[in-house]
């Protein structure tokens, strides 16, 4: 039994390690944690966004914290102010790795507001 357990452990560690090594290295922008911890957000951010969008659009309950705008504000790259522009951008990097298409940014701004404001001035 002990042998089996140790064998399983030996097999598992490299698997976890390999997964970590292959995971995309993201440009997290300013980063920080304002909603929940990283692992939880990786798994559940889509549920928060979907819930918030219906509350905000249909009922007018605009929670600043859960809004997509607020996500972009902190997580857009400090280099190009975008969450989807490059391979390692915050949203695009992970979604490409997971092969999940996002259509959020067909309508929503993928850049933080100050960047857009600067562009208007030019």
């Amino acid at each position: 039994m002990k042998l089996l357990a140790s064998l399983l452990l030996c097999l598992c560690i490299p698997a976890v390690w390999a997964a970590e090594a292959n995971a995309p290295k993201l440009d997290i922008g300013k980063g920080g944690q304002c909603v929940k911890d990283t692992q939880w957000m990786r798994k559940n951010h889509m549920h928060l966004l979907r819930h918030q969008r219906d509350e905000a659009v249909r009922k007018g309950k605009r929670s600043e914290q859960d809004s997509l705008k607020n996500c972009v504000e902190c997580h857009a790259s400090l280099k190009d102010d975008s969450v989807i522009a490059r391979e390692d951008s915050f949203c695009a990097g992970c979604h490409r790795y997971a092969a999940v298409k996002t259509d959020c940014f067909e309508c929503h701004a993928s850049k933080r507001k100050p960047a857009l404001a600067k562009k208007d001035v030019k």
Partner: protein, 238 residues
């Protein structure tokens, strides 16, 4: 009442009070931490009163402000979005000319909402008629149903939208009464931009609001009042 009964009653009262005291701050903190804000209230009915006597011919300030605020191109071709238009009308017999802005009239009984097959067109509790672009399939029934030609369809992919005003290809859009500004306590961009104060924005349901007082005291009309849609946008001097 027996002594046991009154003791029991006292005990229940105290424990209920203690529970409320224990739970209430937690709930309050939770709500504050989540940044929960008030939902749109059905006690409010947002509307506008447009004074056509103050609206100057050739002035496009409201249209420009709308385009800037909502990230519209400002072009007026058949496939370009126009949320607000300036129109010039002339009474043929008298020769009287008028200029006025025309946009979504935010009806109480909006035909666009009636015909929408996906519930994307909806009226918010505070009377603002909106398109939920998450549900819109771009069928454009609402555009056909609207007697005011207020809605536009987005034909081309868009980039660099205003973060407060998401817009995208394949969906219908219209004047939102600048809902993102209203939710922040501001007034719509067109009303703010009008130099002659021809656009008065406010709560039609609040008897003490400036707009309600003015509607009580001056003659105003709803466009196509015969349709009995009870529009939120009213016109004075038409």
């Amino acid at each position: 009442m027996s002594e046991i009964d009154s003791q029991r009653r006292q005990f229940l009262k105290t424990s209920a009070g203690a529970a409320a005291i224990a739970i209430a701050p937690g709930m309050m903190l939770f709500q504050t931490a989540r940044g929960d804000t008030q939902a749109a209230s059905s006690k409010v009915r947002w509307g506008m009163l447009i004074d056509t006597a103050q609206c100057k011919e050739g002035c496009n300030d409201c249209v420009n402000a709308c385009n800037r605020e909502n990230g519209l191109s400002g072009k007026t071709g058949p496939t370009d979005s126009q949320w607000i238009r300036k129109i010039e009308i002339k009474d043929v017999s008298s020769g009287r000319e008028l200029s006025l802005p025309m946009m979504c009239q935010h009806c109480e009984h909006p035909p666009c909402v009636d015909v929408c097959p996906t519930n994307a067109s909806f009226k918010r509790a505070d009377g603002i008629v909106l398109v939920d672009r998450h549900r819109c399939i771009g069928c454009r029934y609402c555009m056909m149903a609207c007697p005011y030609k207020a809605r536009s369809f987005v034909h081309e992919p868009l980039q660099d939208q205003n973060p407060d005003v998401p817009r995208g290809k394949g969906t219908v859009e219209a004047c939102s009464l600048c809902v993102h500004r209203i939710d922040k306590g501001q007034i719509p961009a067109c009303a703010e931009a009008c130099q002659n104060k021809a656009i008065l924005f406010g709560d039609l349901n609040d008897a003490n609001s400036e707009i309600a007082k003015k509607i009580r005291s001056v003659a105003s009309v709803q466009i196509r009042a015969d349709l009995q849609l009870n529009t939120g946008v009213r016109y004075q001097g038409l």
